[in-house]
Structures are given as C-alpha cells and as structure tokens.
Amino acid sequence: MFRFLSSITSFFVFFVVSIAIAGEHFVPITSYRTGPYGVSGAPAANGYVDYLKMINARDGGVAGVKLAWEECETAYKPDRFVECYERLKNKGEAGATVFQPLGTGLTYSVIDRLAADKIPLITMGYGRTDASDGSVFPWVFPLMANYWSISTAKIKFIGEQEGGMDNLKGLKIANVYHDSAYGKETLPVLLKQAEKYGFELKGFPVAHPGLDQKATWLNVRRYKPDYVILRGWGVMNQTSIKEAARQRIPANKLVGVIWSCSELDTVPAGKAAIGYNCSSLINPGSDYKVFDDILKYVYDAGEGTGEREEVGNQQNYKMGVLMGIMTVESINKATEKYGNKPMSGEQVRWGIENLDLNEARLKEMGIEGFIPAFKVSCSDHEGSAPVKFQTWNGKAFEPASDWISTDQSIVRPLIEASAAGYAKEKGITPGCNG
C-alpha cells in the first residue's frame, strides 16, 4: 500500500518537474549537505549553484540558452548517488549535461554506466586517476590535476622549501593518510618518487573517521620526520593539525593535500594551524571579478544560496564555483560546435575534451589568476594544470608558492599502465575518436 502510494506520488513529481525545465541546459547537482562530510559539501554546492545563477543573470545563460539545475542529496553514499544519477540523467530537454560527484567512491559507482547513458563525468582533483588517459576512459575527466599529479607537486614543493630537489636526499617524510581507498591511493606514486629523489617515506594510516589520532601521531613523532604529508578528509584534518601541534611538530612542516586544505580544517585547529601549508587547484584570495559578479547579480538580488560571507572567502565555496566554471565552459565549448540549443551529455563531452582555457579566455571570464591556464585533449583528460600551495596565517590562506607544475614523467607512465590494465579487464579497445 505504501509502495503504491509512493510510486504514484513519484510519478507525478517526475511528470511535473520534467515539464518545468524544457528549453534549457540541465545541470544536475549531486551534493551532500548532510552526513559526515556535509560541512565540506554544503559550501561547494552553494558555490556551484551561485555561479550558475550568476551566469543566468549576467549573461542570460550560455549561448542564449538558460541553465537549469536540480540538487539531489547523496549524503556521500554511493547507492544514493546512483539513485540521484538515475533520477536526473534524463531530465531537461536534452538530458543531463555533466555530473560532478565530488567523491571518489561515488565516481566509481557510475563509471560503467556512462558509456551507455552518454553522460560525461568531471572529477577535478579526485576520482579515478587513470581516467586521465582518455583513450580508455572517454567519459571521465579528472580535470586540472589528479591525485598522483598533485602528489608530485607536493614533493616539488618540499624540494622548493629545502632549496632544491637534490636536497631531498636523505630526508624523512611521513605520510599520514586516511585509512581508506582514497588515502592509500598515493602510496605507489610517493614510493616511486622516494626512489627517484632518495628520500625515506613511511606511511601512517589513521582509522576512519579520525577523531582520536593520538597514537598515530605518537608514532609519527617517534619517526622524527622532516616533513609530514597530510592526506585526510573530513574531520580527520583538523584533528591531525591539532595533534601535530601537540606533538611539537611545527605546522610549516605539514603539507596537506587539496582535500585537507580549507577553512573547515584550519579554523577549528586554532593557532595550531598557523603556518600550515597545503595544496590547492585555485589561487587563495577573493579578489576576482567572478566573485564580485556573484555578489552583484545573485546576492544583491536576494537570490544567494548560502551566506554572503562565504562568497570568495571559503575554499570549498570557491571549489564549488570552479565546478560551475568547468561545467559552463564545457557547455559553452559544445555550443561552438553544436549550435545554440540545449546541450546533451554527449555534446558536452566533446566540449570538455576540447577545453582550452588559455590566459585570454580566463581574462574574458574574469578569473585570470584564479586558476592556471590548461588544455584538455583526448589522450590527456587531465590537462596537467599546475598546482598552487597556500599557507594559513591564522585568518586566511595566502600563497606559499607559485604555480608548481606536476611531474608527468613519473605520473603518465603509471596512468597509462593502469588504464591499459583496465582496458584489458573490461575488453575495451583504447582509441581517440575525438
């Protein structure tokens, strides 16, 4: 009886809502505002939605066609993400344009469906690393930098701090990571770099969720590392920063990944986080035209999704805006080839694969300096963008380095080997069809 009622209701919901969004590019927003990672996911979703609203208000949409979107709560669970994906994939006149799961486990759960559904996935800075090889993964785009690339940038940053990559020899680096698939992912590439540059590496897993890390950090202190790489996620990050301080490990010897690099991690850690360095895909600071535009066109009109103070000042929010930028740019590029009408997933896939965000275009969009220039191609679904490092001064993040390029000579062979393995397992013939 219950099921009957709910099926009737759902039917009406789908019917009503699908009618409402014809004639627009449909952007599905699979956010997580609740659950253990809701504090990170909510500002990102706000940023994404705000950017889309701004484009509609300021530019009238993309190529004359407005953007439509719908949020679906995943609570960071793969099965709910799959449900959101299935529910939203055919919405809108041409279907969903692109999904951005913002979670690695979530990405994996739909990779096998993308080819059949003809919908691309953008996984900036996370997801399936070997998808950087577009010839095996035509529908997945780990844009800008993937886990392994960022790892090489981190070692370069440490090298910079030490005055040169040769000075890495003999150093002891501790890798404190979240004990999960995500956390373990960079171990192979770190070990390869340890071999290449001659430093010693030791891994220290932290049991999920990482509320109590005293024992781990006691172990780290016993190891007496010169640097500690922090690869956490969620509540683990701030606890790690605090424990490091308790163990008298100076904050500037901590180097965090991009997912350990937000105000949510440093503010609760208080003064322990001052001097903490971490990597980021975007430049710190809020002085960019894009944020002014969001304030002007969205917040001043009373349509702001989150809080005004977040705009441009919060890392996760800015990442959300970046997600919006990627989506909109991809749709824009697709309209160049396919015309000014609502774009489908397949067309947007072409758009992403042919993205060329050079300096001129960035300036046009009002985001020069916010992100580096990069270009996507079929074989390089990543774009090999350089990575920035920022340091926390107690109130905000400031730049700690210039844009550091990633070492593709180490990363690329690993990616190609892994992708080839996947292709063999699944019986895919790699190839770039364009």
């Binding site: 759902s10 679906c72 709910r80 399936r128 995500y182």
Partner: protein, 355 residues
C-alpha cells in the same frame, strides 16, 4: 467472504504440509509472482529498475538473513554488513583469480565464505546472549571492515582499493542492462525466500524458535544449542554474503569496504524490526519501507517546496521523520509491518462479518 477455507479439505499428509495450504493463498502467490516477473518489467522505467527495485531486492535478501538470525533464532546481530562484505569480496576474489568460473558459482562461494566467517563470529553466542552478543558482532563489523581496507590481496592490489565486478554472462547472454539484472536478482531472491520459508517450517526452524524463546529450556528438552546457534549464524551469513555479492555485482558494479559500514548494518536491522521480526514477508516489507522512504521524502520535499527549502533541511527532516516513524512503529506495532499484514488477513477471513 472470499478468503475462507470452508470447503477446502486436506486429503493427504502431503497436502496438509504444503507451504500455502489455502487455495486463495496459492492464487495470491501466483499472482504476485506473475506481477513481479511479467507486469513490472513491462511497465517499470530504467530508473525504477536500477535505483529502487534491484537495491530493494538485494537488501531484502540481507534482511531475510538477519531475520533468520534475530527473528527466528533470537541472536541479535549488528554485524550484517560485515558478512555482506565477506560475500562480495569472496565472490570477487574467486572470479578474478579463476576467470572461467561462472558468476553464480562465485556468488555461492561468496555465500559459503560468509557463512564460515559468520560461524566464527557466532562462537561467542555460546557463552553470551542478548545485547552482549550484539557487541560481539560489532567487533566483527569493525574488524572485517579494517581487514578489507588493509590487506591489498583482497582487492587484488588495486591502487584505489575499490573492486570492480567482472561482467556477468549467463548461458551466453550478458547481464548488463537493467532488465536482465532485475530478473537475475528477482530469481535468486524468490528461490531463497522459498527455501527459507521451508526451512523455518522444518525441525531446524522450530529448534531455532525454541532457542529464541528460552534457550535453557530448549537445552533441557534435548536441542543441541551449539549446533542450532551456529547453524543459524551460518545460514544467516550465507544469505547476507549472497546479498553482498549481489550488491557489489548488480547494484553498484564496484564496491569499496566503506559501502558495508556500520550504518548499513543498522539499516538492515531497522528493516527487520520494522518489517517484523520472525517473518519472511516482514523482511520484504521492511526493506521496501526503508528504501522507499528517503526517496519519497526527497521527492515530496522537492514537490512541495519547489526548491525553496534546501536539500540540507530536507535531509535533516528526513532523519527526524525516520526516527519518529521507527518509534511510532515500535509503539503501535512492535511486531512490525508483517503483523499488521497478518492482522489484515485475519480480518479478511471474516469479511464482511465483523467477528
């Protein structure tokens, strides 16, 4: 008026021992099977098949397993998800290392491994019972989750720690579209449900219920507690392992150990309690309830508010409604939805007379 047994005589022991002795029940069962196998595939959309029906069936299998353990044998278990994980990883490991093996055999193997692990973690039940046993199963839950995260052998040394299920082919047909997946899961679940229903009615089932009601008395009349309890753990874990393998292969396609965390164990426990402890149909009712409720609330929320209330608020309200409903059900009908259904059937037997 329609649902009476008047005029139906059992003329042999065999007829008396049938699973569905009343003729109307037989018709209802055939009708329901026809509905599931024929009507639903004709009308259901892809979305319904992949996101609602298939997960529902997979989880109801796990709920069935837990019902066997907790509902019929009275051993509280909070480690259901761990046994599901064992099933998934065991099936995956077998297929990856011996690629020629048909996936159904891999599923069976997954179930058997899970049964083994279940028996192992069920050993404490010989000494402790009730809530303390639940804690022992929690130990299983955390330990197994850690085991699969830590030892790369289980994930076949994949760099990301996520296992991808190999493609499934049965008799030359690939099982990769929603419809074929639905039939596969439906068939497995229907077979298991019938098997369990029969098992419950047998001597083993009765000894389980005796142990549940008062194990000391059961021992006094000669039931071997060790064998009975461990058998319950074994059978239950087999079903959970099978469910886990289905979850990994059919529902998600890939799985990491975190998919089988403690939240999943609690989810299945809710299904069993809300559906009704100690009934086969209760597992299905409970699973349906738990799967459909969040989706219904999500959709209702979107419909009523049209996007003015954030998804976050809706998710919080979902939590609250969830908790409130659980308490409500426990107060109103502690024996779950199955009991409500049963009461309905009893009333139906007398209809249109009031008593």
């Amino acid at each position: 008026m329609f649902y009476r047994e008047a005029g139906q005589f059992k003329t042999s022991y065999k007829k008396d021992q049938a699973i569905l002795p009343i003729f109307q029940d037989k018709i209802a069962m055939v009708g329901m099977l026809l509905f599931c196998f024929v009507v639903i595939p004709m009308f259901a959309t892809d979305y319904w098949l992949t996101s609602i029906l298939v997960p529902f069936l997979a989880l109801s299998l796990a709920a069935l397993g837990l019902n066997v353990l907790t509902g019929y044998a009275g051993q509280i278990s909070l480690g259901t998800a761990a046994f599901m994980a064992v099933g998934a990883f065991a099936a995956f490991n077998l297929q990856v290392r011996v690629p020629e093996i048909p996936f159904l055999v891999a599923f069976l193997w997954g179930g058997l491994c899970a049964a083994g692990v279940g028996i192992l973690f069920g050993l404490p039940s010989l000494r402790i019972k009730g809530f303390y046993l639940a804690v022992a199963t929690l130990a299983a839950q955390f330990f197994i989750e850690w085991l699969f995260t830590h030892f790369d052998w289980f994930t076949n040394y994949s760099t990301s720690g996520v296992i991808t299920a190999p493609p499934m082919t049965l008799l030359g047909m690939a099982i990769d579209n929603p419809l074929s997946k639905y039939f596969l899961v439906l068939s497995i679940v229907v077979i298991c449900a019938f098997l369990i229903r029969n098992l419950i009615r047998s001597e083993i089932g009765r000894s389980w219920m005796a142990v549940r009601d008062m194990d000391i008395a059961a021992e006094a009349i000669g039931i071997n507690l060790m064998k009975t309890k461990l058998l319950a753990f074994g059978v239950s874990s087999f079903l959970c392992g099978l469910s886990g393998a289905l979850w990994a292969y059919v529902v998600l396609g890939t799985v990491e150990p975190q998919a089988f965390d403690i939240a999943r164990s609690f989810e299945i426990l809710f299904m069993v309690v809300i559906g009704g402890l100690g009934s086969v149909s209760g597992a299905f009712l409970g699973a349906g309830f738990m799967i459909l409720l969040p989706i219904l609330l999500n959709n209702l929320g979107a419909l009523i508010t049209g996007g003015t209330i954030s998804t976050e608020t809706i998710a919080h309200i979902e939590y609250m409604v969830f908790g409130a409903l659980i308490i409500f059900f426990l107060i109103v009908e502690p024996n779950g939805l199955a009991r409500l259904w049963q009461t309905g059937k009893e009333k139906l037997r007398l209809w249109p007379f009031p008593y």
